[in-house]
């Protein structure tokens, strides 16, 4: 019987071997006879992705009113690298470390091995070509260096003076392709530029690209101006001005510079924002010591009162679908955050954390509300979900307030003041990381981020 046992064992082993052999999944694994080894990786490193952005090559030897294609290629690469670096998710490598350049002939066939040696994980390159009409075409290509594959390409045609926008669009392409987020670099910021003694600040509306370039002042400083916000179409800004000692809401048309007071209201109107369809304004109106929220149709000039009651109701902000409004009210005794339907119904409180919560603004993605949290003598920027859950404090300064969202709902812009009265613009990623200062010519406050330019 022992022999039989041994025979059976041998048979069993053979059959088991056969099982293993035939158990091979169909596909590339055709060599060794074992199944694949299973490995679990549950942790990695959170770090900005090293990326190489060499100067774009000149597609032709042309000159535009913004410079030669060679110069534009260098500047475009710098703009793109700056954008990616500013997001905190990428680390553009120092061009001094590059072992190769990308000429026109290698734009479509990069030397991946050379880029691997400097540990670039992605490569952004392209060309700038001068067009016969005086404009330019910027061709943008992104590559996965270690896989040796192209991951995105797109071309952008624009005027010579618009070369920055083309560069920002390229940066958006790379950013969104590598992170899965939608882009935000091709956008602008409007804010209040401040200067002068604290007791008599000179405030002017100013606008700039989100990277600080192309800065312009929009008003002269003769009148105190506050809280500018973009219309969804971006051609108009709403703000509050003390012109003629009559504080109220105004509209500023960017192309023409035309300024127009909104409505003929009894009291002070302030804290204005546009509705997502651009047809309405919502703002606060203070009459006889009571402040409520109103909606105003720009075309028909009809106004509708949305809140009543003796509390201060202010800082209204629409949800991106236009169906709800988040606002702040002290009707409960202290400043807290409330949400209501766009017609004013169903007003309910959503903030229940410590201290006071104010100045809410709804994310363009609809998933979060950013706000100012005040407590223990400090002001910080926080986020919460529109139902009030998931509250998180992202910053904690002496006076951080005036939050505004990037177009992709990923970055929050805000104003930070210190005890000496100086103020500036800062931004922070929604993860709480990458808090950084935006450069402005003078002090700054009340920032507002535009939607993505089309």
């Amino acid at each position: 019987m022992r022999t039989i046992h041994r025979l059976l064992t041998a048979t069993l082993l053979t059959l088991a071997t056969a099982t293993a052999t035939l158990a091979q999944p169909a596909g590339p694994q055709s060599g060794p006879q074992t199944g694949p080894l299973r490995v679990d990786i549950n942790a990695g490193l959170m770090q900005p992705m090293p990326i190489a952005v060499p100067a774009f090559a000149p597609g032709n030897a042309g000159t535009t009113e913004a410079g030669t294609t060679t110069a534009l290629g260098e500047r475009a690469a710098q703009v793109i690298a700056n954008d990616l670096r500013s997001s905190g998710l990428f680390r553009p490598l120092d061009p001094a470390a590059f072992t190769t350049t990308v000429g026109v002939d290698s734009v479509l066939a990069p030397d991946f091995a050379a880029w691997r040696t400097i540990a670039a994980q992605a490569l952004v390159t392209g060309t700038v070509t001068a067009n016969p009409d005086g404009g330019i075409t910027l061709a943008c290509y992104a590559y996965d260096v270690f896989a040796g594959t192209e991951i995105a390409r797109q071309g952008f045609v624009t005027t010579a003076a618009g070369w920055r926008r083309a560069a920002h669009k390229c940066a958006d392409l790379v950013y969104s392709r590598l992170t899965g987020e939608s882009g935000y670099f091709d956008s602008r910021i409007v804010y209040v530029s401040e200067t002068g003694p604290r007791t008599n600040r000179i405030k002017r509306l100013a606008i700039m690209d989100q990277d600080g370039a192309q800065h312009r002042f929009l008003t002269s400083g003769q009148n105190l101006v506050l809280t500018p916000r973009f219309a969804p179409g971006q051609q108009t800004i709403t703000y509050m001005s003390f012109e003629n000692n009559r504080p109220r809401v105004w509209l500023y048309t960017l192309g023409s510079g035309r300024q127009e007071a909104v409505g003929e209201f009894q009291g002070m109107s302030f804290a204005p924002r546009f509705s997502p369809d651009g047809q309405n304004l919502i703002f606060s109106m203070a009459v006889g010591g009571n402040t409520d929220i109103w909606r105003y149709n720009i075309a028909t000039r009809q106004s509708v009162r949305l809140t009543t009651g003796p509390g201060i109701d202010t800082s209204p902000s629409y949800s991106p679908d236009g169906r709800q409004i988040v606002f702040e009210s002290d009707r409960g005794g202290s400043q807290q955050i409330y949400v209501m339907n766009a017609d004013g119904s169903n007003q309910r409180r959503i903030s229940f954390g410590e201290g006071r919560s104010a100045s809410p603004v709804w994310s363009p993605r609809g998933d979060y509300v950013a706000f100012t949290r005040m407590g223990s003598g400090r002001f910080g920027i926080g986020v919460m979900r529109p139902d009030g859950t998931g509250e998180r404090l992202l910053t904690n300064g002496y006076q951080d307030e005036g939050a505004s969202w990037s177009p992709n709902g990923r970055v929050i812009l805000f104003s930070r003041s210190d005890r000496s009265g100086r103020s500036g613009l800062w931004s922070v990623d929604i993860s709480g990381l990458n808090e950084r200062r935006l450069a402005t010519p003078l002090d700054a406050s009340d920032p507002a981020w535009s939607p993505l330019l089309p």
Binding site: T199, N200, S220, F242, G289, T291, A358, M374, Y398, R419
Partner: protein, 180 residues
């Protein structure tokens, strides 16, 4: 009649205060706006600054006159409050008296806040403070057609500083004489 040295002193101080006042209106250049800027009426950033008159006598019905007669043109508030305390009511009562003594003079009640609040809320709180003062004066019999209000929120502190002393002075309502 004043002596010549005194006149000279007063003249000098007049000239100096003129220079100081004009220095407050800063010339700010606009950097190439895209189109012609809408012409804006020159507006002073503070209302009602008036120059003390020559001769050492306060002009009746002026801001200075109000300050002299009532002791101050300003009432203060507690943090995040718009209630008038006893001292404030006393000051405003004297303002009402002065207004009765100067019929036809209109005033604007300015409401102000300290910086320890968000921008928009403070505009609303300043409005509450201004209306507190106005309502008090109206209750004292001053016609509301003579009383207007404006809020500056935290934009125009009286005192620079980020300590409690400065904050307390900035939480205020100011009775500003507008003229007749």
């Amino acid at each position: 009649m004043t002596t010549t040295p005194l006149r000279l002193t007063l003249l000098t101080s007049l000239v100096l205060s003129l220079a100081a006042c004009s220095g407050q209106k800063q010339e700010v250049a606009i950097e190439a706006p895209p189109a012609t800027a809408r012409p804006e009426a020159p507006a002073t950033t503070t209302i009602g600054e008036q120059i003390p008159a020559m001769g050492g006598m306060t002009v009746p019905g002026s801001q200075e006159d109000l300050r002299e007669k009532a002791g101050t043109d300003t009432v203060l508030f507690a943090y995040d409050s718009y209630e008038l305390d006893a001292e404030a009511r006393g000051v405003l009562a004297r303002h009402a008296e002065w207004l009765r003594a100067n019929p036809g003079v209109r005033v604007t009640l300015e409401g102000h806040c300290d910086e320890r609040g968000t921008r928009e809320y403070n505009l609303a709180l300043g409005d509450r403070r201004a209306n507190s003062a106005k309502n008090f004066l109206a209750a004292q019999g001053i016609g509301v057609d003579r009383l207007s209000t404006i809020s500056y929120g935290k934009e125009r502190p009286a005192v620079a500083g980020s300590d409690e002393g400065a904050f307390a002075q900035n939480r205020r309502a100011v009775t500003v004489v507008m003229g007749r």
